[in-house]
């Protein structure tokens, strides 16, 4: 069933994974992490990263037992048709909800910093329509687009280096004053930033296996962790712990305070904002695509293009549901803490354990 032009190479997979995970969560990550662990916020990032790594290895191990199958197929093989289908539907809805959050937060940030008089409905819809267009071109187009956008991601990271003269690294002190329990709970709260890794449940069989997938995933997740560390350290060093806690999107405030000495350019955050649109977009398209892919696998259709359009009204109306920005982040917290962890940790773990017990997959399957 896997068409030839839907394979993505290891190099493409790397940028694909990085840009899927790094999305709208990065703007609020310094706030959430420093709220939970004060100056130990960087620990939360590392622990969150380690959890994400182990989850991704679990998903890979699971996928390797059923070569060529996505979660929709092997969940049915492992736990039976009915429960497997329920799980797949859950995963599909989960991805669609994730899309809603991305476009809503995207719209909110854009409204605050770039287009104050443009109705948020318009910016959100524009992004969603773009996503439909890319998703209809298939997985390989997405992977190639990620490859093109990756340099932009690097450019954004580099722009933050201009805030170095104003940084005070002693803001990261004292270290290790937060209790381990708090750190663990904090990394659960900041899971939103690491969600996206579970798209591997569906994308796994499409990745070229010439190179070891573990290595590819490890490299890309390492890059994500380093990027998040960089972001959190910059934000705390620049704004202080209490400053990072007070801004909704500390990263945008850091960007706003950048002042390049001797250069006429003021207000560099417009540039960062504009480039950041791509970052939000790349995670949206992956999730939009995987959601429709899951649906098409459930209904065993040959084409999934129809589902991409069908999802639009659902994603769009859910995105418009929250009344205020406070509600958006309340829902986002609930979403990542419960729904996200269920989809990315519990379902793979459950499937893996059952497949071990029942002896499904692996050598037995062949």
């Amino acid at each position: 069933m896997i068409k030839d032009n839907d394979r993505i190479s290891a190099g493409q997979a790397r940028t694909f994974i990085i840009l899927t995970i790094v999305g709208v969560g990065v703007l609020s990550l310094p706030r959430i992490a420093s709220e939970r662990a004060q100056s130990d916020a960087w620990l939360i990032v590392i622990i969150g990263g380690v959890i994400a790594l182990s989850v991704s290895f679990l998903i890979i191990k699971l996928g390797e037992r059923f070569p060529g199958d996505t979660v929709v197929e092997y969940s049915q093989k492992i736990v039976g048709k009915f429960i497997g289908t329920v799980m797949s539907i859950y995963i599909s809805i989960y991805f669609a909800l994730f899309c809603s959050f991305i476009i809503r937060i995207f719209g909110e940030v854009l409204k605050m910093y770039l287009l104050p008089w443009t109705p948020i409905e318009v910016t959100m819809f524009a992004l969603l329509i773009m996503s439909v267009y890319i998703c209809r071109s298939g997985l390989e187009a997405i992977a190639r687009l990620d490859k093109v956008i990756f340099p932009i991601f690097i450019a954004i990271s580099a722009l933050f280096l201009f805030s170095i003269p104003d940084m005070d690294l002693s803001n990261l002190l004292p270290v290790f004053t937060t209790s381990p329990v708090q750190i663990l709970r904090g990394s659960l709260d900041s899971a939103f930033a690491f969600l996206g890794i579970e798209t591997l449940l569906l994308i796994f069989p499409f990745i070229d296996t010439k190179q070891s997938i573990e290595k590819t995933v490890f490299n890309s997740l390492l890059m994500v962790i380093l990027f998040y560390l960089y972001i959190v350290v910059i934000s705390i060093a620049r704004l202080g712990v209490s400053g990072s806690q007070s801004y909704i999107w500390p990263l945008m405030t850091v960007a706003k305070s950048i002042d390049i000495p001797g250069v006429f350019i003021e207000r560099i955050e417009g540039v960062i904002m504009g480039l950041w649109v791509f970052i939000a977009f790349t995670s949206l398209i992956t999730l939009h695509f995987t959601s429709s892919l899951t649906l098409s696998k459930i209904f065993k259709t040959t084409e999934q293009k129809g589902f991409i359009v069908l999802l639009v009204p659902f994603i769009y109306s859910i995105a418009l549901l929250p009344d205020s920005i406070a509600e958006v982040y309340d829902y986002a917290g609930f979403f990542s803490k419960y729904l996200g962890v269920t989809a990315s940790v519990f379902i793979p773990l459950f499937l893996f354990l059952v497949s071990l017990v029942r002896g499904k997959g692996g050598q037995n399957a062949v």
């Binding site: 100056s39 605050m112 910093y113 770039l114 287009l115 104050p116 008089w117 443009t118 109705p119 002693s170 803001n171 002190l173 004292p174 004053t177 704004l239 202080g240 209490s242 400053g243 007070s246 405030t253 706003k256 305070s257 002042d259 003021e266 207000r267």
Partner: protein, 382 residues
């Protein structure tokens, strides 16, 4: 085929015509605000309008772009001041909009000045600062100053060297990089330091008809104005807070006065534990600099003499720093030297104990200043 092409072209043209942009504002429709002076009106009066109070009187400075362009213009004023009153900053801005045909923009604001009366009411200052931090438009890299009296006066100055008074004011503050007499404070620094207990030192602007003097600082504690620092107090306070660049230390040697120019001064706090029931700190100030003057005909190229003068410089710095510390400990009873921050970062366990009554601990603490100056150069004469 031709028909198809025409159709596509027509569609593209249609798109161009129908594209709307909600946020498009032409540059000549923008009114750039480059300074704000915030005062409290003489009396808070109601206007008889629905629930409308006049609580703030804000003076906005806007450049007249046409006049800036033709530079040869000469003596004409190239900016205009407009005062608007309102319930809040935002209200004042909206009131201004009823009198000005341009859309106001705060992205390029250079300076915001508070009148000292703003601090009479704690909640008012809190409101103002929150307005400034919450607005996405406000330039976080603008300078902040305080005038003892009406803030508007600082913008009314008619300086001969720089006709644009806001650029003149921010230019002086930028000089603080080379001169420890001048303190500079960016809006984002103000916001971040107020977050911890509402405590900050804001540069004092003293205007008269033709010029201003930016020296000294207002001591703000718990969002209230507690007192003023003089020029010299400000300099040594600055050195004790975060080190400084530029600045001079005059000291007496026999019967002459010698100025020592500081290139750079760095400070380091050290906590020595508890001695005789008091917290004990050492603040080390390491400075580098050169001597500016001596006596005509006498030479300074002598290691022993320089060592002797160095110890005099050290004594002078220690004396003045002790004066500032004594002032904070006994007169104002607040920690402006950042020792709380240091304890929190480097001694979190001790900090947990002393955190609640920190100001008491600070006032009773033993703070020793050790100056370690180096006279590196003596000018071009032997």
């Amino acid at each position: 085929m031709l028909y198809k092409r025409v159709a596509i072209l027509a569609i593209i043209m249609l798109m161009l015509i129908n594209t709307a942009c909600w946020d498009k504002i032409e540059i000549d429709d923008r009114g750039f605000i480059i300074s704000m002076a915030i005062d409290i009106p003489e009396e808070e009066r109601e206007t008889g309008d629905v629930g409308r109070l006049r609580r703030y009187s804000i003076t906005f400075g806007m450049p007249i772009v046409e006049k800036l362009v033709e530079k040869g213009g000469g003596g004409e004023k190239s900016f205009t001041l407009v005062t608007a009153e309102g319930n809040t900053i935002f209200d004042a801005r909206n009131n201004l909009a009823t009198r000005i045909d341009r859309r106001l923009f705060f992205d390029h604001a250079k300076i915001v000045i508070f009148g000292s009366e703003v601090f009479k009411d704690k909640s008012k200052f809190k409101e103002l600062v929150d307005d400034l931090q919450r607005d996405y438009e406000i330039n976080r890299k603008m300078f902040v100053g305080v005038v003892d009296g009406k803030a508007k006066d600082a913008l009314m100055v008619d300086n001969q060297l720089n006709k644009l008074v806001m650029v003149y004011l921010s230019g002086i503050m930028e000089n603080s990089q080379f001169n420890a007499n001048v303190r500079s404070l960016y809006l984002d620094e103000l916001i971040e330091s107020l977050r911890e207990g509402g405590r900050v030192l804001i540069p004092k602007i003293k205007p008269n008809k033709t010029e201003v003097k930016i020296a000294g600082a207002a001591i703000i504690d718990d969002f209230e104005l507690k007192g003023w620092l003089g020029q010299e107090q400000n300099k040594y306070s600055l050195i004790l807070e975060k080190g400084a660049k530029g600045g001079d230390v005059d000291f007496r040697y026999r019967d002459i006065i010698i100025p020592y120019q500081i290139y750079s001064a760095r400070k380091a706090i050290k906590y020595n534990g508890i001695k005789e029931g008091k917290l004990d700190f050492t603040i080390r100030i390491r400075s580098e600099g050169r001597l500016r003057e001596y006596v005509f005909g006498q030479h300074l190229m002598d290691k022993n003499k320089i060592d002797q003068l160095t110890s005099l410089v050290n004594k002078e710095i220690e004396k003045n720093c002790n004066h500032v510390i004594d002032m904070y400990q006994n007169k104002y009873k607040i920690d402006m030297l950042g020792i709380d921050d240091y304890m929190h970062k480097y001694y979190p366990k001790v900090w947990k104990v002393v955190e609640k009554n920190w100001d008491d601990y600070f006032c009773n603490a033993n703070i020793n200043v050790r100056s370690d100056s180096s006279i590196r150069r003596v000018g071009v004469v032997k």
